[in-house]
Structures are given as structure tokens and as C-alpha cells.
């Protein structure tokens, strides 16, 4: 990547604002903390949940958006845990602001360990989505995103929101569908701690929406196609 003499996008922000900023760029300390955290997560997923991953070869070099069904806090942990190298260093989980960025302590953890960016439910402004889209392309990031918008309380996958369309329509950034099976059984939203249980992650072939129009209909079409691609990866839906 060409070197440009350009300050961090979050330059000049106070520490608290920086943690919650969509412009936050990670440096050496954050990368080292993130690596240590992911190593712990991988050990945990391998031992406690005997994680099995198929289709890892479908993950491209960044930029890309990795999407999945959402039933548990284990989802983001698992998706960030399977990324390697450049993709892992450039990965941001888009996390619910009210859950993960409510207090300073949780913000520090979400920002430095998980490298999450906050998305504020029901009050995400168009400018924030534009910032996310701009950074995805320019900074060659990898977003981990759950287009349902919230965890499915009953474990049944819901409709995808059009936000994923806003993010990628008209760009060459691939969307990688995946389906995580077993997370709801191991750690459903109503339980405080995860129980041991097998997790299976299936990663599908990337989708590209270069021709998708930047209109409401276009965004909804992108969301529908992403949803269909994720559903096809669910157990019992996959072709042999």
C-alpha cells in the first residue's frame, strides 16, 4: 500500500470520543492486544466449543464484509477468531453501541481487544454509514456484520436489514456469507454464560454487488441476496 503522510483519522479526538469513534484507526498497541485476545478466543473456541470451520478458502484479502446469522455473543467472537493475517489486523466487528460502548471500561475492551466499531440501533445516521463505507474501501478493512441487526431471541434467523446494501452497493467489495450453527444452543441471549457445545461455521463463496444501484430498492435487493446466501449455508440447506 502506498505510504501517505496523513494523520490518523481519529487525530485530535479526546480518549473517550476516540474509543467510540467510527474513525478510530488502530496502532501497534491495539494490534498486539487484539492478537493476544484472538489467541485466547481461538483456544477457547477450540476447547470449549470444538469449533469446526468449512470454506475458509472463501475468505479473500481485505477489503470484504463477513456476514452471518446472529443468535449469540459467540457469533462475533467466532467470526473474528477465524480471520488470519492482514484480514485479522484490519477487521472491525460492527457492534451494538448501547451494549458494548455503554461505559468507558466496556468501550476500552470493545475498542482495544475486539476492535469493534459502534453502531447505534435505530439512530444510525446516514453520515455514519457513509463513513463506514468510505473506510471499508479506502482503508481496505474487513467488517464483521450481522445484517439482522440484533440477536434472534428464538434462534431463528430473521430478515436482513438494508444497511448491508448501503455499505457495499456499487462497490467491488465482496460480501462473504457464513452460517454459524450451535451458538444459540451454547449461549442464547437470555443466558449469562456460555455452555459447552459444538459450533460449526460454514463460510460461503463471496458475493459482489458492483452493479447494485444506490437506491432503497437496490439496498433491499442486496440484503435479500445476502440473506438467501446465508440461508443456503444453514445445516440441511447445503448442497452435498
Amino acid at each position: 500500500m502506498k505510504f501517505t503522510l496523513r494523520p490518523a483519522r481519529d487525530h485530535g479526538l479526546d480518549t473517550g470520543d476516540r474509543l467510540r469513534s467510527l474513525s478510530r484507526e488502530r496502532g501497534l498497541g491495539s494490534i498486539m492486544l487484539g492478537n493476544a485476545w484472538r489467541a485466547l478466543v481461538r483456544v477457547y473456541l477450540a476447547t470449549w466449543h470444538r469449533l469446526e470451520v468449512t470454506g475458509r478458502e472463501n475468505l479473500p484479502e481485505p477489503p470484504f464484509v463477513l456476514i452471518a446469522n446472529h443468535t449469540s455473543h459467540l457469533d462475533a467472537l467466532t467470526l473474528s477468531g477465524v480471520l488470519r493475517g492482514q484480514a485479522a489486523r484490519h477487521a472491525h466487528a460492527l457492534a451494538a453501541g448501547d451494549t458494548f460502548f455503554g461505559s468507558t471500561l466496556s468501550s476500552v475492551f470493545a475498542a482495544y481487544a475486539v476492535n469493534a466499531l459502534p453502531v447505534w440501533r435505530k439512530r444510525t445516521r446516514a453520515g455514519e454509514l457513509a463513513t463506514l463505507r468510505e473506510r471499508l474501501v479506502e482503508d481496505r478493512l474487513a467488517y464483521i456484520l450481522f445484517p439482522e441487526g440484533t440477536r434472534a431471541r428464538d434462534g431463528v434467523m430473521g430478515r436482513f436489514q438494508p444497511g448491508i446494501g448501503v455499505m457495499v452497493a456499487g462497490t467491488a467489495v465482496p460480501v462473504v456469507p457464513s452460517y454459524l450453527d450451535g451458538a444459540h444452543a451454547a449461549w442464547p441471549p437470555h443466558r449469562g454464560f456460555p455452555a459447552p457445545g459444538k459450533l460449526r461455521l460454514a463460510i460461503g463463496a463471496p458475493l459482489v454487488f458492483t452493479e447494485a444501484p444506490a437506491t432503497r430498492a437496490g439496498w433491499e435487493d442486496v440484503a435479500a441476496r445476502c440473506e438467501a446466501a446465508v440461508r443456503r449455508l444453514a445445516p440441511g440447506q447445503r448442497s452435498p
Binding site: 500500500m1 502506498k2 505510504f3 501517505t4 503522510l5 496523513r6 494523520p7 490518523a8 487525530h11 485530535g12 479526538l13 479526546d14 480518549t15 484507526e25 496502532g27 501497534l28 498497541g29 494490534i31 489486523r89
Partner: protein, 326 residues
Amino acid sequence: MIRYPALEHPVTIGIIGATVAALLVAFAIIGAMQLTNRGTPALRRELWLRTGSWCLLLPLMMGPVLLGREWVIGAVTLLGLACLREFDRATGLFREPLVTAIVVLGILAANFAALDHWYGFFVALWPLTVGVIVIGTIPRDRPEGYIQRTALGIFAYMLFGAGLAHLSYMANEPNYRPILLMLLATVALSDVAAFTVGKLIGGPKLLPATSPNKSISGALGALTVTTIIVAALSAVIFRGTPMAQPHWLIAFGLIVGIGAQAGDLMLSSIKRDIGIKDMGTILPGHGGVLDRFNSLLLVAPASFHFIGYFVGFGLDQPTRLITGGP
């Protein structure tokens, strides 16, 4: 290694007393300005912020010097790392984590050499670290941006590793406290004098494109004040040594005075080139750590080698305290 009591030297006591007195006077003046409604609210607010920050900064700067050698080296290491962080985030070097990591290791190694009191390693680290920075990213086979990332890495190591670590090495001299306190106090005083004289006299700008707020009168006033104070304090500190001759003392004062302002202008040039006002936000009224400590960056090595030429640092003290060896 010989250790003297913290307040053994009269210059140490004098500088600490004068610093406390200066802060009290500053608060009194700003308080009087507030009561009599002198100056603009913006100026008064800036003065309150700056003086308040000094109340936090001065104990952090002077405390380690009083506590002992290892505290000084620890504090300088942290200062170097903090400066590097601001520098790499301002210039974009942080997007090259491998180069940043090598510079971090270089800063740690330079301060370790000072802690070990191993001058040979301390000196060797300059070309060695540069060599590692130069070679470090070649195996990635990504020549695009090589010159920029390598040059910025070397620049950062020179300033925050090799340069600042001279302050750490000075602590190997049993009588380091008055020397370090003099440097810390006078470079800070240089900034204050330039600001005050510039406001009082005004006149033509020094380098308007680089730093629009600095005037020639402020620069000359600061240089005069710094030179006189450094020469006077050095006459007491280095009494009985070959350095204690008027022309050398004045030369030393000029080196500190010019080094302090050159460091300030160097950081201004960096900021102007990038297009930012401050390097950080951690110190209200000052900006970032680098905005406050820029004057020390060039003064540290310059004063170390000037004093080293005449007197030396810890020459009669045991060496290689940790690594052993000859």
C-alpha cells in the same frame, strides 16, 4: 553506584523552590487578571489551562529526578514511547506496525543501555537500530512506500530513542539531579520567555509560515534569558571543572537556548507539513506530550555531549551493572 540524597545540591533546592514560587506567582497574576477583567476571556482561559497543566506536569517531570536514577530512566522511557505514539499517529507511521515495533524496541534498548551503564552499547545502538529499521520491512517484498516508512522510522528513533535516552544516561552521574533539573527548567522557561517577551514587545514574526505566533523579539528574549540562567546555574554545578570558564558557560547556555527553540521550530515544521495544529490532546492548554517536550528533543543530546567533552557522566562509576562483562 554512588547515590546522593535528593536535596543535596543547592541548585536542586533552588530550582525546586523557584518552580513552586513561579507557579504561585503565575496563579496570582492570572487571578489578578480575572478580578480586574484584564485580557480577553480566551487568553485568561488559555493561561489557566496552561498553568493548571504545569501543576500536573512539574511533579511528573521533577518527581523522578528527585526519586533516583532508575526513576529517571523509567520516566524517560515512557516519555519516549508517548512521543513516538503521537508522532506515528500524526505522520501515518502507525500504519506500518513493523517499523513502529522496531522503533519501540530501539527506545527500550537505548534506555536499557543507560540503565546498564554501558556506553559502548548506548553508542552502538544508533547505527544498529537504524540498520534494523532499514532492513526490517525488506522481507515483506513491498517496496512501495519503503523510503517514507524507513525515513520516518529513523527520524522517530533519532528523536525519541537515541536523542531522549541521553537524559537517561545522564542519570549515571551521581550528581545528575541539578543538571537534569536545570535542563528541564530552562527549556520550559525558554518557552515561557518567548511567549511573554513576544507578547510584551511584539514586532516582526520569526518564521511566519512555520510558526505564525513566534516573533523575533520573543526568540531573542528567550535566548538571552535561557543563556544567562543556564550559564549562571552551570557556574555553580560545574565549579572546579574545565567547563567552569565564562566563555564555555555562555557557549553552553547558547546551545541549550538555541536547541530548545530549534526543537520547538522542528515540531512546528512537522505539524505544518502534515497540516495539524497539535500533536495530541492529553495536556489541556498545551496539546500533546510532544507539544510540551519538543524543546528537550535536541537539547538532550547536545548538552550531553557538551558536558561530556569537559566533564563526562559517571566516569568513575561501575559499568555494565546488569549485563556484567568487561
